[in-house]
Amino acid sequence: MTELSAVARRAVEAATGAGASDAEAYVSREGGREVRVHGGEVESLTAATQTGVGIRAWSGHRVGYAYGTDLSEAGVAAIAGRAAEAAAVADEDEFAAPPAPAEVEALAGLSDPSIAEWETPRVVDLALAVERTALESDPRLVGVEVAVYADSDEQVAIASSTGVAGEYESSSCYAYLSALAEGEGARETGLGFGLARGPHGLDPEAIGAEAAERALTMIGAGKPASRSCPVVLDETVAASFAGLIGAGLGAKAVQRGRSPFAGRLEEALASEAFALHDDGRDPLGPASAPFDAEGVPRRRSALIEGGRLRAYLYDTYTANREGVASTGSAARQGYRSLPSVAPSNLIVATGDRSLEGLLAAAGDGVYVTDVAGLHSGVNPVTGVFSVGASGRIVRDGALAEPVREFTIAGELVAMLGAVSAAGAEARWVPFGGSVSTPPLLIAEMAISGS
């Protein structure tokens, strides 16, 4: 048993010792670094370590939570005591109970040794290469806001009074760049990014070139005319929408009547061109882990398939409410947060069209490459959305002039019914959670511009 598992074990004992009828402890230790470069120089270099424990205590069917950074014996005991006190304040909920232990299959390849092998000067060079590629691409590329490389290696251990015990280690890294282009009297920005388990998996030139291309493309952008028309969403935008859909498929929102998908199981609400899975064990998925935030094995779940809504995502609590099994979909934002149901890696199925094929099928419409204002422009309860967008006009089946300062509006479920084709190539995108998606063609969406 590692040191972290020992802390988790001790925390569980401290909570039951403080009067909890059941307890669970989640311990994480994360080490990471971040490099930000600007103008060929390092702007900041951060070295970080973070360790903490979160304890869930049950008092019968009441549950409370406490977390902290003090992992000394006295520190853990104090946190356990606060968790037990918190449980006393909560109301009785017959479905609140810890999960039973289950066989967890190990998942190899989550931790990449190249993070440890690449010394800091080497990842600084990587970040500088990202920036340099963008700056050297075109004279109209006048600067960068920031170029960033960051990595982290996290160890997680979990233990409970019901016998759950597990640990794993996973690593991740990413690099991104926000580039500034200038032309026709205006400034434009473009984002390029890449993510991998370790720095050797990143392609700095590709990231820099993507940012430059996105910024340069937008030079001279005007407003499109208001209308309803076919829309092609690029992978980054499709991922943002997939994330919203995945959130609406979490059983908590469904059970509490706060999801546009509530009460629609087995309904033919999507087009056959759109299929969605959640896969917590995908070897390439950034969110993959052998078990979820409460120790339940991760798995693959079909959510939307053959045009029908097949399943919701469950953690132990929401599963208990319906008398079904957890789908291993408990998630947390680290030790500070209570586990709650959420997607892991969302996988949107690929189709058979190239991007050119999607644009040709769109005929006359808009290719959307960026959306803004998702947190305020989407109503997660009703699914009604109106968000800011930018991209390119599609004319005669091909990309034409850039457009910005318009909105795309509609309703999430109706949008699924209007997906008329999916692209053949998917990409992992860190927006909307952790999503792998191809570009998508939507038959009709409302555009509001000039």
């Binding site: 070295a47 977390y67 909560a90 800091t120 009547g257 909105t407």
Partner: protein, 461 residues
């Protein structure tokens, strides 16, 4: 300084941070504690409390900042952070100046929330639940949350500054869902302040009724219109309009990187002469107020627009140094795990002399955005977007149908210049602002404001 870190340890830490050179070093120590609980489906749940402490040390050399943070405030932890920050430097040792402790007066807290029994907070949530449900049988779902947070901070730097602050904030929020046949609508409201539990002694139940009222009103909503039209924006959280379309663009880091549409506009006319606006981190009790910023600089009131002219940017220590000016006390960070960057505190458009009624009466066909769910801006291009949480049509000078699904979109410079009326009905509201992955509490405020023309993006065909 709040007992977080004593002067001798701070001096030792700064000396170690400069062991391999550097022109500036700083240690920031923090203890944060909080409690949150919620009510949902009439049941108290998600009762949780947290306690974290740690320190962040930075060393600045040339244009580079070296930063390390650790959990824990044992002297060994804090000094380890200094060693890690200094590890990448290769120059001659530098000497920090002796520290001069500067006393600050934290904002007064009358009733410490951590001394209020959790049961009392649960009772409050039950009251919010009842008050909202009493607004009508069509209220189908109600969830409300209570949160309190205390941050004790201490900061010392190699220029000799040694200061601290003790901040307590309390906030409640209510989200309601109304249902009628197949129609579902939502309404939300919040109340928060840099104050103690005394904030909730008046009648916090009002916000539950307001949240429920919004959802009920929207049951009769029509799809929002699309196109360019005059827009009247409501007071309070309507100030997020100014926060996004001007405030962010005035943060000096964006300016210095050429990533703001306000570059080169200092002293220029950017708005009608009727517009005056401020960032004020000293407003008593306000959500975005603190005694000092997270670099130890006293917070201040900064006029950013005076009679339509741009008068100041918002600076932290490093950006001020680069421009050869004084910090405006806007160096903020989410926690000891983050580097400070220029951030707004309480940002607002000062009261004007128009009445909301008069400014609406002058609009033939337009849109009335009472409140927003939030907004977003790209400071470099100036493109912004706001999701309207409560909006109405204006027809022939009168407020008519409520609208669902509206978004306002535009470009900062155009929209700011198009403000042609500012109301006298000023008030402040609370927000959480995200930038560079860091969230900080900010206040936004204004009376009603009218924009001559703005794009409303709705779903109406």
């Amino acid at each position: 300084m709040s007992g977080l870190i004593d002067q001798a340890l701070a001096e030792r830490t700064l000396a170690r941070a400069l062991a391999n050179g550097g022109r500036f070093a700083e240690v920031f120590a923090e203890r944060r504690r909080g409690q949150t609980l919620a009510i949902d489906e009439g049941r108290i749940e998600s009762v949780q409390s947290g306690a974290e402490e740690g320190a962040g040390v930075r060393v600045v050399d040339g244009n580079t900042t070296y930063f390390a943070h650790v959990d824990g405030l044992d002297p060994a932890d804090v000094e380890r952070a200094a060693d890690e920050a200094a590890a990448a430097l290769r120059a001659e040792r530098a000497e920090p100046r002796p520290l001069r402790a500067r006393e600050t007066t934290p904002l007064p807290i009358e009733r410490r929330p951590e001394e209020v029994p959790a049961e009392r907070k649960a009772e409050l949530l039950r009251e919010l639940d009842e008050r909202a449900r009493a607004k009508g049988a069509e209220i189908a779902q109600l969830n409300a949350s209570y949160g309190e947070a205390r941050r004790e901070v201490a900061v010392a730097n190699s220029d000799g500054l040694f200061s601290g602050d003790d901040r307590t904030r309390v906030r409640i929020g209510v989200q309601s869902v109304a249902r009628r046949d197949g129609t579902v609508e939502t309404g939300a409201e919040t109340l928060g302040a840099h104050r103690g539990f005394e904030l909730l002694e008046d009648d916090p139940g009002q916000i539950a009724e307001q949240a429920a009222g919004k959802a009920l009103t929207l049951l009769d909503a029509v799809p929002a219109p699309s196109g360019s039209m005059p827009v009247v924006v409501g007071g309070g959280f309507g100030g997020v309009l100014f926060h996004e379309m001007t405030g962010h663009g005035l943060e000096a880091d964006h300016i210095q990187k050429g990533a703001s549409v306000y570059v080169g506009k200092l002293g220029e006319r950017v708005a009608e002469p009727l517009l005056n606006a401020y960032d004020d981190g000293r407003l008593p009790g306000e959500w975005g107020s603190d005694a000092i910023d997270d670099e130890g600089h006293p917070t201040q009131k900064t006029q950013v627009i005076e009679a339509g002219r741009l008068t100041s940017f918002l600076y932290d220590h490093l950006t001020a140094e680069r421009d050869g000016v004084a910090s405006t006390g806007n160096g903020r960070r989410e926690s000891f795990r983050d580097l400070p960057i220029p951030r707004m505190t309480n940002t607002y458009i000062a009261p004007g002399d128009a009445t909301p009624e008069a400014m609406i009466a002058e609009v033939d066909q337009g849109f009335y955005a009472v409140s927003f769910g939030g907004g977003q801006v790209d400071p470099a291009t100036g493109d912004f977007v706001f999701g309207v949480s409560e909006g109405y049509l204006i027809e022939n000078g009168r407020v008519t149908s409520p609208c669902r699904g509206a978004t306002l979109i535009g470009n900062c410079l155009d929209a700011l210049a198009a403000i042609d009326a500012v109301g006298d009905d000023f008030f402040m509201k609370t927000g959480i602002c995200g930038k560079g992955g860091q969230k900080v509490p900010v206040g936004t405020g204004q009376g009603h404001v009218r924009v001559r023309a703005m794009t409303v993006g709705g779903t109406e065909r």
